[in-house]
Symmetry: D2
Subunit: 363 residues, 4 copies
């Protein structure tokens, strides 16, 4: 099921950018969770286009409709189906792309794979697909919060070559949301915003890096061998549009250290076993160790730019393409909530898997 994610807490998204609606079904949601549409809506609003002057001007209210799985304000344990209508799709903006492949876009590979061509708005490869992920992520975050005060916080750590100082304290949601770019360091945020505006003014685009932290995660989540927590996080992140890299803890930089420098020494932290440093990023042997989980995700610059680019048409002939349509000059700020959603989904799923194997029977 290529459009599903998660083994026990499973989400299935559906819908295209220019179809009537997009949505998600959550299967396996624990019963009894208090949940309101406004909690889901709040997260969708963080993802929504048109929320600030550095995002695409496409106008979408992205109002969520619950179709099943709630009864008297609580989840029932049955599938939770949610739907968001598409409103402001302007297919005519894509007319020029009817016969021309957009460089570095899913356009060509989709056509080759499926043998047909829906040139409008990227179809299923559009970022609108992530609406379902964010809606499901809102449910997962609520579970984590109620179950153990687990917090999931993503933020922008880099835009183009502007790199924010290393975060030393778990950022608050307010700190992240304080700027349109979702970088909790205000001075850097201001620079990032002007950079995005500048590239947009030239019809160009930029990428960046999102960092995500999770605190309060219990020891023991993650499965050896193939379903390590970091393996499933990596898959979750690389399943997002425009991502090109993932690293956890010390990541690529850690390859520059020796073992004696890199190892996290165990210490007794007020009665629990913890580590003095956190180069492991909160996982050891694929399993959470109780420290903060810390990972980073690389996003390439948006492929659709408003400059003339050389390309080929569907017959393979050389041509030029100047895209129209409304596109984000930088997807990274809006992707923050999507990264959080996917991280929360991974955590809830692994939590259930852990309990299934280790909590079902007493011997």
């Amino acid at each position: 099921m290529p459009n599903s994610f998660g083994k026990l807490f499973t989400i299935s998204t559906w819908g295209e950018s220019h179809g009537p609606a997009v949505g998600v079904v959550i299967d396996g949601c624990p019963p009894g969770l208090p949940l309101t549409a406004s909690e889901v809506q709040a997260e969708l609003d963080r993802r929504r286009p048109g929320q600030s002057d550095i995002t695409t001007p496409r106008k979408e209210a992205d109002s969520v409709e619950f179709l099943s799985g709630l009864f008297e304000g609580r989840t029932t344990g049955h599938p939770l189906a949610m739907l968001v209508r598409n409103a402001d799709a302007r297919s005519e903006a894509y007319d020029e792309m009817r016969e021309k492949f957009r460089p570095s876009h899913a356009d060509f590979t989709y056509t080759a794979k499926y043998g047909f061509r829906d040139h409008r708005g990227g179809g299923r490869s559009s970022a609108r697909e992530t609406i379902g992920r964010v809606a499901a992520g809102a449910v997962a975050k609520k579970i984590l919060q109620l179950a153990g005060e687990v917090e999931v916080r993503a933020f922008v750590a880099q835009i183009h070559d502007i790199i924010a100082p290393t975060v030393t304290k778990f950022p608050t949601l307010a700190q992240v949301e304080a700027s349109a770019v979702r970088c909790p360091h205000p001075a850097t945020a201001a620079k990032m915003i002007s950079r995005i505006k500048r590239v947009r003014s030239k019809g160009d685009s930029v990428g960046g890096v999102i960092e995500c932290r999770m605190r309060g995660v219990p020891v023991g989540l993650g499965e050896p061998v193939f379903d390590r927590l970091e393996a499933d996080l990596a898959k979750a992140m690389l399943s997002l549009p425009a991502t090109k890299g993932f690293e956890i803890g010390s990541g690529f930089a850690g390859t520059m250290l020796k073992g004696s420098q890199h190892n996290d020494v165990f210490v007794n932290k007020r009665g629990r076993i913890g580590t003095q440093t956190n180069r492991s990023g909160g996982v050891q042997g694929g399993i959470s160790n109780g420290e903060e989980i810390v990972f980073r995700v690389a996003f390439k610059p948006t492929a659709t730019i408003l400059q003339t680019q050389r390309t080929v048409d569907v017959r393979g002939a050389s041509t030029e393409l100047k895209a129209r349509g409304r596109h984000d000059p930088c997807v990274v700020p809006r992707a923050v909530v999507i990264v959080e959603a996917m991280a929360a989904l991974v955590l809830v799923d692994h939590w259930m898997r852990h309990v299934a194997q280790n909590g079902s029977f007493k011997f």
Copy 2:
């Protein structure tokens, strides 16, 4: 199934470092594949300990025994079970670890998760688990070779802070195997080897980066949305012991470019549509585009070092640990064949998934 990988071409590994044997079952293997034990053995020999003077001296022949799934030299379509006996396990070397947690090792998290402690040799978290992956990978590579002359080639691109020049031509197997460190650039390989020897002489360890390339991959492999080819490659790589990062194509460095610099322009390459550059790394929208697939994996320095380290014991009291046992000062050279195996497994699985959806019916 945490110990299985792949949806249609599925491998399940089993076995512990200090148990009687390790092994793998492949389910879903296409029937009719010509296969001999020596082809699998050749790959196991590349992974085997004691193969050179920069690896652990543990002596293991790692001879593969086929238990099922072959008939008259060809696969039958039924499960292919393979087994390798453990020979040279020296559990007594682990006596000091009976009560002390090894820093940055799976030791503590396994104990916390499962409620018991097998202190010997890492149990299931040992790199011996990867024997099954390599054996299965040998089968996958054979399929790819016969099916379409698809080649999978990994090599060492960095050890500690020694970085090899960028590879401009697809390396041959002979070039990779020419040095014990498996870096195809001879001068760099020599430096890497002396660095590994030096850190080993101090009881220390180093990590590095493996690059993997695949050529001949047909257009169309990979599934939107969650099972993108790069998402499954990322999961496969982060499921390997000691990995901390994954990037495809331009990766983290690509975040420094603008869209106008990053986009891969489409061109007509002797009748097929290709791209002029390959910052995408061979995938667009999660689907292979016919260009070389290029990704990199970060390996941290080996956690088990032969120096005295501070740690805590199973009761949480501070103590010191000086590991004994036979350990690799750097796992990266032996991991080359494991990276290839996992990459080949991902490719075969996605190939079968692609054909299932797009080749089963004609309308």
Copy 3:
């Protein structure tokens, strides 16, 4: 995923009897299938309540809305989401059941399992859940028809103790639809209809047996060992509300024969290898052998009857319950299209699995 069915052609149903809507998402549908809403609607109309005077009078148009997965009249290969609004739910009819458990109904077990109680209309256990199955089954049948002229035909073979003569010729759809009870033998159909009317007049209910046949199925579908074709058919059928038994080919009666009487002798049928008799029911060793697939499903009498029954309330105290609401005195006639849907889904899924393993590579 308890609410999903199928490994490669996967359906996920959602929705409750008294919620706003019910629906289904198909994931893995081959691209390029010509499909219209009216083709799906035609099947839903066969399942719909109020279609004849022997079914529940609940009024539901059951109009299907396509939300995704179609483009210019063909499937895209992406999720096909379909939705049907609930219209005529009368929750107040269930007021008496707010505190009393309905005998032989999912009511008690759902309450015990999930820890809450949605007394209205059965919630997720309602037959309205099968709308999604029928809609997905319409797509599967279309695939089978276009792919190989495979036909799936179910019909009523028994109502209460009225047993239709053995079918000797594959019935046409018209023959099945000729009577409200969907028994292709007209004289028996008439008796069945009057039996259903008589028991309804007494507030009682009856069950029966549906037979299903599939012809044109290619040799080779079904997987040893656990995913035998008959195993997946059995699961599909026992997943339907009110089913208590499944048999294929000679079934339970076949246990009365000796091997020499039961074996199906192989013969050469105009160039293809076939069997003279079909006690195997079209499968051998779990794999289709090219003969007609023939199976039967037992449905118990509807649990909800309009007579006073003894029961207990939610606190375990003895009480009496007289159900109101609108219920089928016999679900069997409407279940015919549901049986066909599930059978078609199993077949398409196995077809794709077969091709994936046996058609992906040539050696």
Copy 4:
């Protein structure tokens, strides 16, 4: 994965009748279960050929070897791999079948599906494949016993046309094992044994019916909608060689009753809610209701008989076949332990799934 069964407690079997060995890997086994090889061996001995004078004389010790997953007498939570060597395979007895298809056997369909022919002993379709199921079932039964004193007891209810009286009390293991035929009613058992001997003397075979009961099953196991407990039991049973039917509770006979006769009235049983009768067979709405689970499985007569039968050869030409080899004249007595194994596996898997969804979080 056609050779795997179970979602959370997953078994994967491998091995052919005439290969070197058969085996099983259990993935997801809870850690800490006390387990010895002799407990598994005891179950294998109940399945073993040559155990009595009504079974095949093939001599196989069927000694189990544990390869992984146990440490100091307890399961570790990691894969439990078990292996049984084949000893007495006599491939030459199958020479006549090299070119002739055995009627009602997997022989033809396997050849058609996989494009090659292993004529010896049925290959993967052999009953030897069930060794792995029985070994895994022994583990599942141990879990059920320790977790909640859940008992699983199968027995022979019918051989050919000899039907045992309805069981009114849960039979003890000793009562079942008292006769070679495993019918707990001694007088009927004697008749069954002489029937089997008589048909064997004529080179013929018979089938029969196994009934299975489970008591102590907690309320709440089973998942709506597709993964109903009875659906997974039906699949498990129809995945066994030679099965043709499954029914639960009132089964096919229940179709002869009216709703007012069939419904199980709820009563207060010393503080717990139970039912007065058990036509439901222990499940309602797909979920266990705390009553005994009762189901029956139909086995056809053994296909391989020692009489001359008409058939075709691999080229489709008419011919005759007189099988040699050592075959059971009736597989039903040996299948008793296999039915128990599969039932126990389904129960453990659903138990873990139930806890995962309903026990992971408290709100």
